[in-house]
Amino acid sequence: MEPVLECSRLVKDYEHTRALAGVDLTLYRGRIVGLLGPNGSGKTTLIKLAAGLLQPTAGEILVAGRAPGRETKALVSYLPERTYLPDWMSASQAVEFFSDFYADFDAAAAMDMLGRLAIPLESRFKALSKGTREKIQLILVMSRRAQLYLLDEPIGGVDPAARDYILQTILSNYREDATVVISTHLIADVEQVLDQVIFLRSGTVQLCTSVDEIRAEHGCSVDAFFREVYKC
């Protein structure tokens, strides 16, 4: 099968800034990839481009061999950093919504996970805490049998127990034809789960290698190495 994500000389400009300055990248299937970099390095921009929310300024991005559009959106499961479910919806309505629009959505798995985390199914999102909303969004995203998962800071504001649950869910959902991209700055917590890490800085790929290679070559964790590379 073709690589799940390919970028060649990808450039994205905003009004006053160049967010991506020529990204070349190929991601193969069956990987769990960490997208690491300081704020402003272009991580979210890259993810949004793959999700089809932005158009490239120059260069090319392909998801499963196609330019981002309606067909790739059916293959991509995207978790943004923000709450994106409407206030008036409840968890069970959200499950219904995802079932309606995504053929690869596993409603039974979603309900199971919601039940295990004791999430109230009929309360509107307006009434739920931020942490609960984030958990619901993550469950919805991970209940899809997508080919590319794009998780933007999935463990940012979450307590350690929930964090473990999230990483466990990512591992147990692993499939050989799918790739999970986790963009985060909490590297120490996710390191073990990743095969590959991509260091992004100022809109270009600085490094693209495996966790074990970094550890073998530098004798330290990826987290320690990252701090070293990006220290101010």
């Binding site: 932005l54 158009q55 309606r70 991509v76 995207y78 923000r82 994106y84 479910l85 629009f101």
Partner: protein, 269 residues
Amino acid sequence: MLSKLIKHELRATSRPILPLGAAMVAYALLYRLLTALHLTRQWPNLDQTLAGLGLTFFVLLMAACGLIGTFLLVSRYYHSLYTDEGYLMNTLPVTPGELVWSKLLTAFLWSVFLTLSGIVAVLAAAAGTATFREVVGGLADAIAQGWQMLRFDPPLRAVIVSELVLLILLSPLAGFLRFYAAISLGQLMRGHRLLGAVACYFALNFAFSLAAALLMMVTGGLGVNLFSSVAPSAAVAVAWGYALGIVVVEGVVYFLISHWGLSKKLELE
């Protein structure tokens, strides 16, 4: 996918809009009840004043419901596509065209709902009263007259009637699309997106009115002859034909702008 989008749209918008229709009908019934009771019949002046006030308020209420309904539907477009919820809607496996159509058709359905509610309210308030019978009678006569005038020219009659129907149906669609296009254009103005949208709305309105006027002038040279040499009924057909043409062109242009806004120029915060 489109029907699913519409279903979702209707569900999302029913909570604020159904009460508007209900309010109109409820008020009409209340008005009818109170006037029937003639509570103040002992004071004829007061009676009349109150009836007048009640009626004025009724008209204002209907206008307000219309405005609020429009505002809700337009802000729904903005909210669901260009704010945080946009992250959900714009990553669905649907085309930008389907997104615009779903909002448009939902807006149309609610417009029909509010119009029907308004009609029901008017009937509730006034059916059976003398004034009502007069007004309706007058209207019926006028329509019958018009119908009679064209009895010798069934094709023309058909054209005029269909033009009228299309104008009634398509004008609100073009109206909503104008809002959508304005919102899409406003998005290009970083930092002043809402203000930009408002400005673009009036700009689009002005631009098309200008275009329509120019069109009239240009064909006026021919039109003057046309209108004077031809029966009034044919003139009506031509005039409405122009109006219809402009509405259709407007609708298409606004749709294309909205589509372009979602597919090429989406930059969610």
